[in-house]
Symmetry: C2
Subunit: 307 residues, 2 copies
């Protein structure tokens, strides 16, 4: 009902919510084309980390801080662990309490529909819609650890990886991969025992090697008490400045657009081929595969040759 704060293509909150639903259902192709020229303005912040690290509280506190600075914030909570249930419940309760009713904040949860490739494409489109709607900051929060984080981090300008003290013995294995997508490392729940150990462990891993150019700072927060949040915001701003100065902003965006283009091409080409196939051709090939009469490579060749 409230018009959105600085929307270039004027959208009410309700219109934006409906657009995001159509994006989830992959029914917004022409609207996304129309919005595309208005994108590229928002700073996109990715927030990821293991379950229990307090990501949602951190996003909440960071949003409140940005609102005090009169900056508008859209939060996109993406839950790749929930492919079937369709319900993304990522920290929604904690947010509603502090942020609801503020017209400068927009919150949306998205669960996986179909494949991971689908989630990544949907998330990219949703970020664009929120960007074009005029939000200064778009915060994308994901749960868990895995390839989905990495894919979604590639869409963010600045990625925060959140850890907490004493998260169990397998954590080292996760950090190894996730560390390399981090622009800022956050040790949340820093008032708990073991926070210094977590900082030292991260420090040691950073010293083993990180991508050249930007050295990720390791920052401590107690998000539930809003402690350390201003420092996080300052480092996000510094990273944004670094991206612009170094030219990394343009090269990152180009790499991401190329990856997205390839994903869309794959889908389009497969759909074209399946449409051209004779009725029953796919089923016949699958029969032969199941009976081990042909192998998968031969099956691919036959399907391509048949059309």
């Amino acid at each position: 009902m409230h018009p959105l704060p600085t929307a270039t293509p004027a959208l009410t909150r309700r219109e934006l919510a409906r657009l995001l639903t159509r994006i989830e259902n992959r029914q917004a192709t022409s609207e996304l084309s129309a919005l595309y020229p208005f994108t590229g303005q928002a700073h996109v912040i990715g927030v990821t980390g293991a379950p229990g690290s307090g990501k949602s509280s951190l996003v909440n506190a960071l949003t409140l801080y940005y609102r005090q600075q009169q900056r508008t914030v859209a939060i996109l909570a993406v839950d790749p662990s929930s492919p079937f249930t369709g319900g993304a419940i990522l920290g929604d309760r904690i947010r509603m309490r502090d942020l609801s009713g503020d017209p400068g904040v927009f919150i949306r949860s998205m669960a996986t529909r179909g494949t991971l490739g689908g989630l990544a494409a949907t998330t990219a489109d949703a970020i664009r819609a929120l960007d074009a709607a005029g939000f200064d900051l778009v915060i994308v929060e994901t749960v868990g650890a895995g390839q989905s984080e990495v894919d979604i981090a590639r869409m963010a300008h600045t990625t925060l990886v959140v850890e907490a003290p004493g998260m169990g013995d397998d954590v080292q294995a996760i950090k190894a991969g996730i560390l390399e997508i981090a622009d800022i490392l956050v040790v949340n729940k820093a008032d708990r025992p073991g926070a210094d150990n977590t900082v030292r462990a991260l420090q040691a891993m950073l010293e083993l090697g990180h991508p050249a150019g930007w050295l990720p700072p390791i920052l401590q927060t107690v998000a539930t008490e809003s402690r350390g949040i201003a420092v996080i915001a300052d480092h996000i701003e510094a990273h944004r400045f670094y991206l612009r100065q170094s030219g990394a902003l343009i090269s990152r965006e180009r790499a991401q657009l190329e990856a997205e283009l390839f994903t869309r091409l794959r889908e389009t080409l497969l759909n074209q081929l399946l449409t051209r196939l004779e009725a029953g051709a796919l089923s016949a090939i699958l029969d032969q595969l199941t009976m081990r009469h042909i192998d998968p490579d031969t099956a691919v060749q036959r399907l391509i040759d048949n059309t």
Copy 2:
């Protein structure tokens, strides 16, 4: 050096290890075609769950149990959280102690190379190689929670989801998605406080709904002491029997082959298109996209029309 126990295409351990390396590097196309007729014999067990649940210890104990039954076991440890470092360190130390030197056991770690689609394809091919090499059981272990687990679970005949007591407040959100891929639910570290609560929570979630046909049992283990392992093995056998009796084995395999065929078709079609493109065409399209002169859908159309 030792010939593998019941290998149909006779492979030594060293030959199998080299084949798996070529599979990881996507250089084993013709060998995989040759192996394909010998696949479909092994029972493939997926083991997944949150970090800290003790998956590796459970796989270790289960393997020792199967060895006592004179059954051969291949373990594939897949680490989707480590896309850059290339080092899969999933519980390798604990395994080496108890299982090394046994010619009836083969252990291999795989990390992500490239995209998740790549990991899923590589894992499918690696399972086939181990299956064709004659192992009775192939155990695929993955870390974390997310779409990668779901993709890999689809390749398993029987999927174990491992939980442990008191894993933090976000765990509920993970379980919601991961529960629906579980054929057997394991509460490991069942000697710890809170195990009964975890069992009750899982029970409550199962009652909310699970796929029809097979009701996943909730079993308790202390894997480090090999407690509860024989019961797990019995339920895996019961699930295998259920899959054969109900026809689900064939329908699952067919669905997985179809998904794999589509993945391969997407890759092949994209590569064919990129090969046919004029030099500079892709770069020119990316320039226009970056400058917001065209939108992604238009870019896809132009690339397809150009070839």
